[in-house]
Amino acid sequence: MTQTVAPAGGEDTFPKLLIRNAGIWADRPAIREKDLGIWQTWTWAEVLDEVRAFAAGLAELGLKRGDKVAIVGSNRPRLYWTMCAAQSLGAVPVPVYQDAVAAEMTFVLQHAGARFAVVQDQEQVDKLLSISDDLTDLERIVYDEERGLKDYDHSRLHPFAAVQETGRKTLASNPQAAADLDASIAAGKGSDIAVILYTSGTTGQPKGVMLSFDNTVISAKLACEFDNLTQTDEVLAYLPMAWVGDHIFSYAESYWSGFCVACPESPETMLQDLREIGPTYFFSPPRIFENLLTTVMIRMEDAGPLKKKMFHYFLGVARRAGEKILNGEPVAFSDRVLYAIGGFLVYGPLKNVLGMSRMRVGYTAGEAIGPEIFRFYRSLGLNLKQLYGQTEASVFVTVQPDGEIRADTVGKPAPEVEIKIDDSGEVLYRSPGVFVGYYKNEEATRATKTAEGWVHTGDAGFFDNEGHLRIIDRAKDVGHLTDNTLFAPKYIENKLKFFPNIKEAVAFGHERAFVAVMLNIDLTAVGSWAERNNISYASYQELAGLPKVYEMLEEHVVEVNRDLSTEPRVAGSQIHRFLVLHKELDADDGELTRTQKVRRSYIAEKYEPLITALYDGSKEQDIATEVTFEDGRKGEIKACVKIVDVQTFGIETQQEAAE
């Protein structure tokens, strides 16, 4: 670093933290990206240099305090730098889901009033240009990858490198510009809006959650202290940048504790990259863990019989002893020996192949994880914990402390978080991370955040005897059957989704006589099963309708019923009928949110005939559905969906609950 940098005026904003980091960890890696075959690495000092150059370049292009900068693309160092560069100028970054279609993007960019957009590549540029008539505020687009954009009109398009180049020149030649930048950084304060994150929202239009520096910096600080994160940790940033989880874990915590963030080469190579980096701190929604487990099981199907036997034997040992050993509970000596052998033969290699060998702390959050999946990873000796959080809370509401990990709770209140449960069972919290408000949406802010700073989570839950919070479901989704039995759809769905063959499940039953479900098969798992059994199929639809597939799924459903029957609170909500949907639920068709959550009410509306059929005793039902193809064209598929009755069980009264 040749240029002089203004003395750090504190640690209350990310630009100031960056200056601090560049001072104390100048030569430590700050961010990596797998590019051109190797992990290109930037130290904190280099990151500061890049960020300053870009900030100066943006200033030259006219970016002002208070402007909004949309960031569209997958996890790239340059896009992370953009956040800090914008914040240095007092502008507010607005990360946008990069796989959103143009129409969805229009709303966010319009609503945020973004003047600048920094995007990844030609695809995103094209997307923005196609809606540019609607984006009256958007003035400039900066892009990272130059490929294919050479011949575009560059009156308002700028290559990232060129902006940085301008910035560097300005900083070098114009002391005033450098001083202005330093002043702008110094002017930033904790109460400023640091970022606006749009929540996808299970219903209605997205809302822009405004988080201040205080919110994010303090949340990051508390989390780093909670898990003892230091500058020696490594993290893989692969989740959408627009998601609060990524923002806190891959950006805020990194700037606070100085750990290194690695960006994968491409989505296709994510697992390979994960394995190479071997992060020490890992954060993921349950879906990723589910997918990994599914792949593990599928890949083991092809192994030789002996190896398969050995694998499942040691998984059994792990189920028996693994979690206890991890929790430091007493375990029989023989089991300890077996577990050690298993560690050498199975768990160690498996963790290695999954890229989790070095994982010190892992979190699953975003939605409830199936207890079996959770236990599977824990039993391998991975310190996987659950976390309950929200965008509005800068992630953290509750966290499981080390040594108090249970599959069915989301843990104790995170540091400096207060929680209360209101009369209707809804969970409310208050913390330093609580958001400033929804951007340009006073009404929604008032509806969510009380005058005393309590935030409605919208989730129903309760504290158990040990002070752990248990979330049952979305408060508005928890319902009752006509006989007033509790009906928690997500609870049932998660049990179903534990089976690798089931990719998605939607349960119905509120104010109905019994519970019925719609299932989506997992094409990878069932397809591989079909291949092994020489069953040919031409399409997802055909595979999903095969009687053998139905038989297989029926077994799974019966299994879930048996399981439910052992839990008095939910035994009444056993599944009586099910069907297998003829198409995959898809975010492009609006059936899932961009974070892959089921949009229950939309589905109920869209597949109305099927739901009717589920409850009127029909054996099959014709349906026509509109689908959106990858290129945006629409089409219609027709199918005749079979409906199956399932065996249910009497309520078993078990006394093991006290264990």
Binding site: I38, R147, K150, D151
Partner: protein
């Protein structure tokens, strides 16, 4: 937005009128004049002349056995025509070794994938850099100092090509294990690694499915537009030829029967008789 019209890389955007004016003004990169090639009395090519302008995509089409591949073989020095002249970048040549053609900046891919099957994707593309590397045996032995520096520099170049053709995921896979479509892409990458002025593609899309063809077309256009490489290609898929190429030469039984804009050629009666009407 004006940006849109200029920028969309869709295949059909090259207006015929604009292109004809453009190519006329362009300088000639390679010209073949009155080439005749025969094997033991059998004429493979008879008195064929045409030229390839700098920066264009030139297609050579014709029915099976029309002499298309032989033509490419003549251009890159693998066959030596009995008669005729070839000039490349204004320099006449009559007889040259294939590696001399490579040296002058002519690269090619092959009808039947001709990858080095014992090597990985990365090594195959590195192989394309052979001509650009110069460190001698001594440094090679040590694999250190200048030799290592050179190796790393070229690896960097190769990685850019890998990035360009989006084959990162198969970087270290032995090419023998790759599916056919990817092998073709690696072959293109290997040819690009030579940084050629003239790239000869012998049926780059043979045996590919629709999606792979679309990918390959996009890559060919990208190569032409982004890197400015002049391309001569042989292709059977008429649709692809019409979309991709600026100008088309049609051969039949070793003779040239047409030469011109895709649309003109498509309307040419002799061509329709010789080629377009024939089922393959």
């Amino acid at each position: 937005m004006s940006v849109m019209e200029a920028g969309t890389p869709a295949a059909g955007i090259r207006g015929a009128a604009a292109t004809s004016a453009e190519t006329a003004a362009r300088e000639t990169l390679l010209s073949v004049e009155n080439i005749t090639l025969s094997f033991g009395g059998v004429h493979a090519i008879r008195n064929v002349s045409f030229e390839i302008a700098k920066g264009e995509i030139r297609a050579i089409i014709g029915p099976n056995g029309a002499g298309k591949t032989s033509m490419l073989n003549v251009i890159n020095g693998f066959y030596h025509p009995q008669e005729g002249l070839i000039s490349f970048r204004g320099q006449e040549r009559r007889r040259m070794k294939p590696y001399e053609a490579a040296n002058q900046g002519i690269a090619r891919t092959f009808q039947n994938v001709a990858l080095f099957r014992g090597m990985t994707t990365l090594d195959n593309i590195m192989a394309g850099r052979t001509l650009k590397m110069h460190r001698g045996f001594f440094w090679q032995c040590l694999h250190w100092g200048p030799a290592l520096k050179e190796e790393v520099e070229h690896r960097h170049k190769v990685e850019e090509i890998i990035d360009f053709l989006e084959i990162q995921a198969i970087r270290k896979t032995p090419v023998g294990r790759l599916p056919y479509g990817l092998q073709k892409r690696v072959e293109l990458a290997r040819a690009l690694a030579m940084e050629p002025d003239l790239l000869l593609l012998d049926e780059p899309m043979a045996g590919m499915n629709l999606e792979e063809k679309e990918d390959m077309s996009r890559f060919i256009l990208d190569v032409n537009q982004q890197l400015g490489t002049t391309i001569a290609l042989i292709e059977h898929d008429i649709g692809v030829v019409m979309d991709l190429s600026d100008r088309v030469v049609v051969l039949d039984h070793g003779e040239k029967i047409a030469d011109g804009m895709p649309a003109d050629v498509q309307a040419n009666k002799a061509v329709i008789e010789a080629y377009l009407g024939v089922e393959h």
